[in-house]
Structures are given as C-alpha cells and as structure tokens.
C-alpha cells in the first residue's frame, strides 16, 4: 500500500501528489444547495458538474441536483453566453427553481465569461421568470480550493440578497455556519434557537442533504434558507461568522453593505470554540445559554477527563479544511493530545498564524502548513509515526500502509456513515466526535494487547 512513497522528503516544485483539497466549484455547489429551492448551476463543461455531483453524492448518499452549461468546443472558443442563456431557459421551465446559483469553472473563467452581464441580459430578455433569481459566484478552479469556492458562493448569496436596512431586529442574527455538515448546521441552529433568537442561517443544507426516505422524492427538499429570509439578512442585529476561510468574506460584505456588524468565530468544534461561539451570541444579543447547553458542555468535559488516560499525549496527524482543523487542533490540545502534523491543502497564511497560536506552546515540534498534500503528510509519518489519523477518507491508504488507527473527519467522507447525521460542532457534537476518537483508540489498544493484557474494563 502506497509502497512508492519514500520517507525522505525531496523538494517538489510542480507535482501535486495526493491532494488535500479540491477545486472551488464543488464548494460553491455545496453552498448553493443550502438555499431553499435553489438549483446550483455549473458554468463550464459537463464534467465539472458531473464530478461535483458524484462526489457530493458519495459523501452524503443523497440526491445532489445541479445543472451545467454543457460547454462544447464551440462555447470554449466563442464564449459561454449562449450556453448560459439556454441553460436558464431550460432550467426555469423544466426544473422550476426559485434561485439558480451560477458558479464559474476554470474553463469559463479562462474564457472570461462575464456572468453578471449575461444574467442581466437574460433577465432583461425575460428568460428569468419574475420572482425568480439568478445569483453567481466566481470560482475559478485554479485559485484557492473548495473552501474558497464555498466562501465565494456564500459571499455571492449575501451580495445578491443582503440589502442595507435601517431597521435592525434586535433578536435576529445572521449565522454563517461555514463549510460544515448538515448535522452541524442543524446543531448550530438549534443552539441559537434554544437561546431564544431568530436566526437567518446560510447556507443551510440540513433537510436538503439529509432527507428522510418516505417513498416520495422532492427535487427541492424542505431545507435551506428561503429567498424571503435572505432578503431579511440586512435587518439582522449581528452576524456570527464561523471560520475565517469559509465565512469571513460574506460577513465582511454584509457589514460594509448593510451595516450588520459581525463576530468572526471558529467553527464551534470542541469546548473552547463552542464557548466562544456562545459568548459571541451572548455579547451580540444579550441572550443566555440554556441549562441544557451547559449540561452538554459539562458532559463533554466529563468525557474528556474520564478518558484522559487514552487521550493525553497521543500524537495525531490531522488534515483537512482549515476552518475545521483549526478548531479540531485546539480541541485536541485542550485535552492534552498532540496534533504533531496539521496540514491543509487550502492555501492561506491565516491558517499558519492560528496554528502557531494553538500549537507553539503545547506541541512545540508540530509541523503545520497550508497548501500541503497527503503525500507529504505520509512522508512525515514515515519519519516519525503518530498514534492516530484524523482526516477525510483519503487518509485510509496511509492508515493501512502504516497501520495507524483512523477517525474520519472533514470532507469528503466516502466510506463510512454518520458524518452528515451526527454533528461535530457544539458541546454535544464534541461528545460525538470524542467518543469516536476514544473508541477508535480503545479498539486499537485491544487489538494490540497481547492475550495476557487484554482487558475487560477500560
């Protein structure tokens, strides 16, 4: 397994091997699915849309609907405007969405298609039915990563829907949950609701990418933020934006455009990040956490100390999307674990700045970095092994090659279930992730114990 990966790291200037990121459009597509009755539209050749839908489907085991401009060579030469116009015609008649969320691709970006102008023209020509909306985000695949694409689409949503508003509603906040699972969005919503607030959460893929089986299919499930709700985001008192990489842009936009101030939080994974999220909501609105939330918090801390013997000092290789692994690394450090390798494929120096703060004192020899890949991670592990891998499904090859226990976390997860149904965020989500980690470590301990040390009670 991965036999050709040498332990010795030689400089690579051009070859990306086993990436820890993918391209912008899939993130944009995911974000767009978080609007109710929205059809994401991929402006490029068919393959992009097909690949994104397939990959999201593999991750969610759910229908993922999106359309494409189906570029052929002609469009690549003469521009994609006719394709987009035809697409909008077809889409609105055949699939009747409320919103079409267009994202670009490397192809349409390289050609230089000007989406706003094309859309404006289409609107003027009556191609976009009254009351329907076409929004867009520019997501060239050769910039950033899927996380950047998500962020761009979230900003796109804001830029089409958030209007300046004099009147702010004092118990209403905007929440940008960042690039997380439907279950996470659901959990974040329930925490804010419990605190007695009205919230406008976008994107919100809960009840979109985790729909029940009832024998009936609906192309547009009941989840997602509604257009009408989005139109109200300018009236919110405050925005809670989670994740520098996935939510800052949109929050900044809403602040500048509509005067909605924001607090940038981390994605609330772990006690401390969740505390800061709760505190941010408290500070912004004067609301209080409920006793039930505090009880979950205490149960999480309880689990952290109850199982400290199996957690403390464990070396972890952690990779994934920057917003998620920043919080996760902090969570690990908060119980004495040692995230010795923390890598993201997504570029961005902000990542290293945060990791430095989290790791410099606690794991002084940690290797962390952005724009990295799993080939490099594997090389690091070959040089100095770890006790646990935490990251997306692609890590399974390293786990097997090096015989290291592995907890799946992040995007995508293609070979296990539960990630979309059980949150990692919030205090309860922390318990869920932590149980997975504890049980994985215990399973391994059992496996590696000789017969005479194989124990009943742990």
């Amino acid at each position: 397994m991965l036999d050709h990966t040498p332990a010795e790291v030689t400089s690579r200037k051009a070859l990306r091997v086993n990436p820890a990121k993918t391209c912008q459009p899939i993130g944009a597509m995911y974000a767009a699915l978080g609007i109710h009755r929205c059809l994401p539209h991929s402006h490029g050749s068919q393959g992009c849309c097909s690949y994104h839908r397939s990959h999201l489907t593999r991750h969610f085991k759910e229908p993922v609907m999106a359309s494409t401009s189906s570029f052929t060579e002609g469009a690549s030469v003469f521009g994609g405007s006719p394709n987009l116009r035809q697409s909008l015609k077809t889409i609105f008649q055949a699939y009747d969405p409320d919103v079409v969320a267009v994202h670009t691709t490397c192809l349409s970006e390289t050609i230089g298609d000007d989406i706003p102008t094309i859309v404006k023209k289409a609107e003027d020509d009556g191609i976009v039915p009254r009351g329907k909306k076409v929004i867009h985000a520019s997501t060239p695949s050769y910039v950033g990563s899927h996380v950047t694409g998500f962020s761009n689409m979230v900003k796109g949503i804001a830029s089409y829907f958030t209007h300046p508003a004099e009147h702010k509603i004092k118990d209403q906040i905007n929440v940008l949950p960042g690039y997380v699972e439907p279950a996470d969005m659901r959990k974040i919503k329930s925490m804010v609701s419990e605190m007695g607030l009205k919230q406008l959460v976008f994107p919100d893929t809960s009840d979109v990418l985790d729909t029940p089986k009832t024998g009936e299919y609906s192309m547009y499930p009941k989840g997602g933020i509604k257009m009408q709700e989005l139109e109200q985001t300018g009236n919110s008192l405050h925005t809670i934006a989670m994740g520098h990489f996935s939510s800052l842009e949109a929050a900044t936009y809403m602040d500048q455009k509509a005067g909605v101030p924001f607090t940038l939080c981390d994605i609330p994974i772990g006690v401390q990040a969740t505390d800061r999220f709760v505190q941010a909501v408290m500070d912004a609105t004067g609301a209080s956490p409920t006793q039930a939330m505090l009880d979950d918090r205490g149960r999480l801390v309880d689990m952290m100390t109850d199982y400290q013997h199996y957690l403390y000092g464990k070396k972890v290789a952690l990779w994934g999307d920057p917003d998620q692994i920043i919080s996760m690394a902090e969570f690990m450090v908060s119980m004495g674990m040692q995230p010795v390798y923390v890598l993201t494929g997504t570029p961005g120096k902000a990542f290293e700045k945060r990791m430095k703060k989290i790791l410099n004192d606690t794991v002084p020899n940690a290797v962390f970095g952005h724009s990295q890949d799993l080939f490099y991670l594997h090389q690091l592990i070959k040089q100095e092994p770890v006790d646990l891998l935490v990251g997306n499904t692609y890590g399974k090859y390293i786990a097997r090659a090096e015989d290291i226990p592995f907890v799946r976390f992040g995007f995508p997860i293609l070979d296990r279930t539960g990630h979309s149904y059980f949150p990692s965020v919030g205090y309860k989500g922390g318990m869920h992730f932590l149980s997975a980690m504890i049980n994985t470590l215990l399973e391994r301990m059992d496996r590696d114990s000789p017969d005479e040390c194989f124990e009943l009670v742990l």
Partner: protein, 541 residues
Amino acid sequence: MSDLKSCPSVDLEEFVDNILKKYPAKVAKKRKDHILVRKEEDPARESIQANNRTVPGIITQRGCCYAGCKGVVLGPVGDMVHITHGPIGCGFYAWLTRRNLFKPGEDGKNYSTYCFSTDMQEQDIIFGGEKKLKQAIKEAWETFKPNAISVHATCPVGLIGDDVQAVAREAEAELGVKVLAFNCEGYKGVSQSAGHHIANNKLFNETVGTKDEAIPGYSVNILGEYNIGGDAWEIERILEKCGIKIAATFSGDGKYDSMTSSHMASLNLIMCYRSINYLAEMMETKYGIPWAKVNFIGVKAMSKSLRKIARFFEDPELTRRIEEVIKEEEESVEQKLAPYRERLQGKTAMLFVGGSRAHHYQDLLRDLGMEPVAAGYEFAHRDDYEGSHIAGKIKVDADSRNIEELKVEPDPEKYSPRVSPEKKKELEQESVLGHYHGMIPDMPPGTLVVDDISHLELEELIKTLKPDIILSGIKDKYVIEKFNVPSKQIHNYDYSGPFAGYKGAVNFARDIDMMINNPAWKLAVPPFEKKPLLSADLGTD
C-alpha cells in the same frame, strides 16, 4: 402497440409526449429524437439520435472528455503515473473513484492509489503551464520510476495553448521513459465518448505495437474491460480454464508492457464497444487482428461469447474444452441462481448508464427472469443502439468533427491476417467477427429507449412506469431510491462484484435479490398516516 409491455395501461407515446411538454419547445424537439418508443417488429426499422450535444441546463448523467480518457481508458493502467495537467479538481475527482481494481505485476509497480496533478494556479493560467508540466513529469519520474507516464490536459490547458505533446516528447527524450500526452480537455466532444476516442488514438499510435513479443497459444486481447469489482479477474479465470491466454486487457488491471505487444495476439475481444471499437478497428487494419464483440455479462451471454472464440480458433480440442467449461460452470451457476430467479421472475428493470452496460446487463437480467422495460445509454453513439453496421453512415456533427480520425494502413512489416479472407467473411456473416448488433434488437416492442436521459425524464419514468429496479449510476441512485425503487449502480456495482462471467452472475443475482426483497423498503411510509392523527378525546373519567 405502444403500450408498455409489462404495464399495458400506459400508452408510451402519450407518456413521452407529456414528458416533452415539460421542456421549452426547442428543447423538446431535440429530446424527441433521443427517445424511441419501440413499436416495429423489425428492429432494423427503428432509429434513434445519439452522441449529440446535451441541451445546456438539462440535468444529464454525462461527464466530459477528460473523464473518458483519463478516468475510463487510461486510469486503470496501474503501473503508469497519470498526471493530470490542470487545476486540482479534475485529478482529484478521478482519483480512485472508478473502482478499476489493480494488482501489480512482478515489478511491484503500482500507482493506482496515487493522484498526480500539476495543480495549476492562476499564474500558470496567465503565464502558461508548460514549464510546470515538464517539471512535474521530471519529479514524477524521479520519485516513482513508473513504467510509463501519461499527461492529461484539462479545460484551460487547451485555451491557454500549452503544447502538452511537445512537453511530453521532450520529457520522454530527456528522461528515457515513455510519456503519452492526451489533449483530452473536458469541453471536447459532447461526453466522455470523445475522451475514449482520443485515448484510443494515442494508445494505438504510441503504445500498441511498440514491442514485438510473440504470444504463444490461443491468445486474445480483451478490449473495453475495466475490471470494475474484479470483472477482469473472473473473465481471466474462465478463459484460462478454457486454455485461452489473455495477451493484454485494455485496460482493466492493465500493465503498460502488455499493451505494447498486444498487436501480437490472435484476436481482439470487445466488451465495451463504445469506448474501444476505434482501437479494434485500427488494429485490424494495421496488424490484421480481427475483432469479435463479446458480452461476458450474463450466463448465456458468457457461454455464447466463449463459443464465438471457439468458432474463431476452430480447434476441436479447444472447442471441446470450452464446451466442457461451459457445461461445468453453467450447471454450478444454475443451481445457485434458481432460488434467486424464483424471487425475481417477472420483475421489471430499467437501465440508464454508460455506453455498453445498459445493453450488456439486459442479458443478465433476462437470465434471472427479469424484464428490461426501458434502457438507454449515457454517452453512446447510434451504432451502440442500432448496430455496428451503421457506424459508417452516421453524420458527424460539429462537436465530434474535431476528434481526430486516424488514417490507418496495414503495417508493411507487422501486418498479418489471422484468418483467410474467406473464413473471415464467413465469420463476419455469422456475426462472429466484426459485428455488434446494438441494443435495439434486444429491446422488444413495447419498451422504451432513451438516450442521454435527463433527470426530468427519469423522474417521470419512475412515477409512471414504476419499475422494480433501475440500473444506473451514482448521481441517480439516491434520487431513484427516494422513490422507494432500488437502484443498482452498474458503473461501480455498489462496491460489490465481480458481476462478469459465471460467478459474477451469482453475485449480481444475490445483489438484485437483496435490493428488491429487502424488507426495509416496506418501512419507508410511516404507518401512522393510515390512522387519524387526532383520535377522539379519551376523556378524564
């Protein structure tokens, strides 16, 4: 005679008209030609449009040229390093997602679990990516020492004008390793199909025939078999048992080396006609290897395919051996299939997938007593529907015209006809050689053929025709299953398999049975709806 065969209450033509009404008029017009209600007793009188541009905005199953070239044809060759030249996405999505299993050869070289990309950044798009590509090839060679390297261009590469062919030539000369470059930018053609063709051309030009190594015995190449779920290994088991040697497989469990000398084999067997008929045709012209269309999916189809091989080699001993194998395997399989057949008899199926599978699997479904009531391909051409005889008559449109048709002539040295012209003609007339009869003849009147089916059409088909199962792909599977109709993925087999050959048929039967007869489906509708949500107040007596 346009009622659905298995459900006579549905007038198919009316049904299709109603679907088409949901499109804008122009779109409806285009789609109409891609939907065929089978009526004619003589299938030769039926025709369908295929391999046309998908209408933008239609939700299609189709992918792109890159997917056909890198994803389908080249990807399975596991002892090569395949470098995607482009932004990261394309390489990322094509990484390990096709399930073409690979077991390394004696040299241990295995790059099938790796993903290689130039991960182009904005400055590469602005200033050109040739240097980066060159460097990437160099780094790949130095670190991995593969048996060959391929380079696959993605959309922007063509637009910015990177000359990947030149870079490949230079790198090859410099490093001393074969570097195959494919201009398979995603926008080329109208589907994956263009990528197959591009892959075929390059393999034919720069790989096949580059090494002459005699292959003793009854040797065949298997073309268009990608070893999904181990299919190729089951086929190999059977052929070897018969005494037939597989010289090379294009490209399941593929080794670069075996492809280079594949022109020395006696016969080309084509599984997936759509993706690889180009290579077969060209090899016949250049080297004189004839091709036979086979189908290893389904018990009867497998046996029939073996008999084609027997007929070709015309050796009594081989024929005897093949008949022995058929008898033994069929008997063993029949025993295992019988209980499944009992539970599956008469169940209806639809197949919408790929360029050959939607046809191949009909044989297997019929082995199980099931009825295919509707089928269609995702990226096929008209000949896949109507038969190879019309291949030359298909009008080439603007989208396909740019895919190079190689001019091939008999190799002055290496050409060597495997059979006499007379015998060849005879075998062709018997449809043993050089012939694929297409899907339509196997679809009786009262069934439906839909090319490049859209999401809208699929929804309507499910709602109205209520099949017992649909064989399709990952993007449709969960849509279909929300309707409480099980959907078997026959690109990836739902991570089961093999489904080819005799043992594969049993695996397939087991899977279909488990899907159709899984009691869990019955639980989808909550029982409460049958009762009033508010019953009478029970009082506080």
